[in-house]
């Protein structure tokens, strides 16, 4: 028993020492590599946010009416999560590698002092685990708080009201965040400790310097630089001319050219830096600065290129995502709140009255739309004069589009004048007047824009003759484009508004009726549009009427906005973190590896300020080069995304959106600058440690 107690005490003492060492070492690692630690925290927050997306107020709300689309989005989340884990794995791997390399000498000493390799392994694992637990303990509460905030803010922004707010907290999301985070940490740890375990003690004590890099003739690098620029130029051209979007193959080619171009650019960059180093300048330590940079570019050209591409992706996603969200939420004017589709026998006002819902609506009217049945020709409408007048207009892309669209108009819809005027009245606009055999042109917003409308209006001002159902008609007035029904996805590219008698004649009495309704303003003021519609919907459910409300339409819009912006912003964020952490960690790693050079410079009379200024300048270049390449590419990239992937409803606002996207790219550059400052501070701290005289002997 006594022996057992002694054994226990000795074990206890040993364990105590072991854990003290673990705590001390991991605290030191956090201090030395704060940048990496913060990146880990941020990645935990972003993991949680994406995983708890389904619990966000907006998503809960949308699920009620767009459950299919929301479910599809949610089905995508695991894939997104997987991709993020994959990318973050590399981040964790590189940063941990850096940390271990820094400690290589210390680990060698542990082994020299007789620590067994298994114990060293345990020590490192315990340290890693402790720092992971700490990251999670700090990161998870922050994550819950941030996603709660996002939920409240988005709910407010889209006007759902925060009364029905429910907590975003999701145990499943917490579980998956922890699992994912620990998974990548462990994987990185196992791979790295395997490397350490395989090294000889000598190798740990005095790490071999990076192998002397084999240099090819400068001409080859110059060629690479030139070729890289050429390929990038080709990719830019393909992208902005819209050729990339014509087929998957072309898109693949553009991406391939862009990626290859970026890699070659960074591969060849050493020539440019060598040239800069060779030039004379006034700045102190100029040669040293460029040689350091050149060496780093030689060693890290691949990861510089990857970082640049990641920053590019972040910029494109961020610019595109924000611009879309902006365009969507700012774009549309809406008048109608409800559209009822009815069978002939149904009388909507009657049914609503029976339910006591008449007071809920300010306006309720029929929208009559039909095809031309009168006259028995192959083509119901001919408008050669319109085409003639249009052709006489000044040449432009818009004119070509208009000519092309009108060329296909053979059987247009007709709309009854009285119902369209009710719509205008409801919107508070002036009604239009038409004589018999006069028609007004209707083109949905989606198919026109200010320039096209202006072109068409100039043609209409001539009151051109057209032939409809065998009779001569005249077009008049201005182009009309209010939405005829609630659902903005039902659109007419070209229709003619005609007086009611003519409408009866042309359609032969066979037409569709939609009952359009506008909610009573008191109702909307009291509860807000969303809640008012939701309340009326609840009552309408019992009438058996088939209807579409603005809420659904808005829900769809909202869904696009939320889905597009959430996912693009999320990816942008992750890419940015990874790229910057890789750049920052690599720079600091290189600086430590070349710490001896800084020491030599100090001995030769370099001051602390001089060294810090040189390091700052190196950092500016090191971050600036990939960022600059990314900014240039992103200008073309965002333009290309707008060209190919913009929803048709906001395609006409490209110029405005581009400004927003540019502002976002600028914002990301500001974030880059913050990172740059953080790395500069870390570097200055390191240089300060070198200034302390070293005790030799």
């Amino acid at each position: 028993m006594k022996e057992f107690c002694m054994l226990w005490h000795s074990w206890e003492g040993e364990a105590q020492m072991f854990f003290d060492l673990v705590l001390r070492n991991s605290r030191r690692s956090r201090k030395e590599n704060g940048l990496f630690f913060v990146s880990l925290l941020v990645s935990i927050v972003s993991f949680y946010i994406i995983l708890s997306l389904a619990e966000q107020d907006v998503m809960v709300f949308l699920r009620k009416m767009e459950s299919d689309a929301v479910d599809k989005l949610m089905a995508l989340i695991p894939a997104f999560y997987g991709v993020t884990l994959f990318i973050l794995f590399f981040l964790v791997y590189f940063a941990s590698k850096y940390q271990l390399e820094r400690r290589s000498h210390e680990l060698g000493v542990y082994l020299m002092l007789g620590m067994r390799r298994t114990k060293l392994f345990l020590l490192l694992m315990a340290e890693d685990l402790w720092s992971s637990v700490l990251s999670l303990a700090l990161g998870l509460p922050a994550a819950v708080l941030v996603s709660e905030l996002i939920s409240l803010i988005t709910a407010r922004l889209v006007g759902i009201g925060i009364l029905g707010h429910q907590s975003v907290f999701s145990l499943e999301a917490v579980g998956l965040t922890i699992a994912g985070f620990l998974l990548i940490k462990c994987l990185a740890f196992v791979l790295l400790s395997g490397k350490i375990a395989g090294k000889e003690i000598g190798g740990l004590l005095a790490p071999a310097p990076d192998g002397a890099k084999r240099q090819l003739p400068a001409g080859i690098y110059f060629m690479a630089l030139a070729l890289g620029m050429l390929l990038l130029g080709m990719a830019y051209r393909l992208a902005i001319c819209g050729i990339s979007w014509t087929s998957m193959g072309k898109m693949g080619l553009t991406m391939l050219l862009g990626i290859l171009g970026t890699f070659l650019l960074f591969y060849g960059l050493r020539v440019a830096l060598g040239f800069l180093a060779g030039r004379q300048g006034k700045k102190k330590l100029r040669v040293f600065q460029f040689r350091q940079l050149q060496e780093q570019v030689i060693h890290q050209s691949v990861s510089l290129a990857v970082s640049s591409l990641l920053i590019l992706a972040a910029m494109c996603f961020f610019g595109y995502g924000v611009a879309i969200a902006w365009g969507r939420s700012a774009g549309e004017v809406h008048t109608l709140d409800y559209t009822f589709s009815v069978w002939e026998s149904e009388n909507v006002p009657e049914i609503l009255k029976k339910k006591g819902l008449s007071d809920s609506f300010k306006e309720l009217f029929e929208m009559r739309v039909g095809h031309i049945h009168a006259g028995n020709q192959d083509v119901s409408v001919r408008m050669p004069r319109v085409m003639e007048l249009l052709t006489e207009e000044e040449d432009s892309e818009e004119k070509e589009i208009l000519l092309n669209n009108l060329g296909y108009v053979d059987y247009p819809y007709v709309i009854s004048l009285s119902s369209y005027n009710r719509l205008l009245k409801a919107a508070g606009l002036e009604e239009i007047q038409l004589q018999s055999h006069q028609a007004s042109v209707y083109m949905d917003e989606e198919f026109t824009n200010a320039v096209r409308a202006e072109l068409m209006n100039r043609v209409l001002s001539q009151e051109p003759e057209i032939e409809m159902a065998g009779d001569v008609w005249h077009m008049t007035g201005k182009v009309q484009s209010r939405n005829l029904v609630v659902d903005s996805s039902i659109t007419l590219s070209f229709a003619l508004i005609v007086p009611d008698e003519d409408f009866q004649y042309l359609t032969g009495g066979e037409y569709d009726i939609y009952w359009d309704a506008v909610l009573a303003p008191e109702l909307v003021e009291d509860q807000g549009l969303m809640q008012a519609i939701a309340a009326v919907n609840a009552e309408l459910g019992e009438t058996g009427l088939v209807y579409e409300s603005y809420l659904q339409n808005m829900g769809r819009q909202l869904f696009y906005v939320v889905a597009a912006s959430y996912l693009t912003l999320y990816l942008a964020f992750i890419f940015l973190i990874v790229a910057n952490t890789v750049l920052g960690v690599q720079f600091l790693m290189q600086q430590q590896k070349t710490g001896k050079r800084y020491r030599t410079l100090i001995r030769l009379g370099s001051s602390y300020e001089m060294l810090c200024a040189s390091a700052r300048s190196q950092i500016r270049w090191y971050f600036g080069l990939p960022t600059l390449a990314a900014v240039v590419s992103s200008l073309f990239g965002v333009r290309a995304l707008f060209r190919g992937m913009l929803p048709s409803s906001i395609r006409n606002e490209t110029a405005g959106l581009l400004v927003i996207a540019l502002a976002m790219i600028f914002l990301l550059c500001v974030i880059e600058w913050c990172y740059l400052k953080a790395v500069s501070r870390a570097s200055s701290r390191y240089i300060l440690t070198l200034m302390e005289p070293e005790r030799e002997e």
Binding site: A212, L285, V287, G605, S606, R695
Partner: protein, 258 residues
Amino acid sequence: MNQKILEIEALRKYYGKRESQTKALDGITFQVVSGEFLGIMGSSGSGKSTLLNCIATVIAPTEGHIVMRGTEITSLKGKELAEYRGRKVGYLFQNFELLDNLTGRENILIPLSLHGIPEKESRSRMGELAGYLEIEDVLDKFPAQMSGGQRQRVAAARALILNPEIILADEPTGALDSRNARTLMEKLSGLNREQDSTILMVTHDSNAASYCTRILFIQDGKIFHELRRRLPEETQQEFYERILHVMAQLGGGSANVL
């Protein structure tokens, strides 16, 4: 008339707390005059490197004075200190301390860049040094592409480019083979003779020390003996033998002292 360049007075450097104090330098006093080639010899741990590091301002002494041409350098700070390090003294290190990502020429010119001196001013000095030290062929090569001897001669050119008052050399032959060591020492002593360069060299290589004009032997942080080469009658070989004799006594410990 020989002028005093460097005066060391009652220099002490103690490491550690009272109970476990190590006296690396224990009251050393000597002077270096212009044009002198002074050697400091002693066994490992005798304090010779600490002495050099104190003069080089790499470490601060506990007590005493180091005066360079009338300026007390232990109290120098910031800009003045950096100025002293680069312009008043030139260094030659055992392991060369060349920046391995800079070419030979760039390495030699680094002190100019550090002190904001235009390259033009030192162009002729650079050519002269490169010619004398026989490193013209390697000026555009990186250190990895040079031999050890070439590296040390490039380092010597770097130490000399700003025409410092004194050159501090810390075991300059320590990492060289005997042939390269001899070449380097011949060049250094040539510079000393022909250009009146003042050199203070720490070494434990008696061969290298035989090129000096005066040698101080240090033991346990104190000056233990001094040798002067009797010029011109004494040959290098004779001086070398005298050095060996003192070294043998040093190796035998204090019990055998004279």
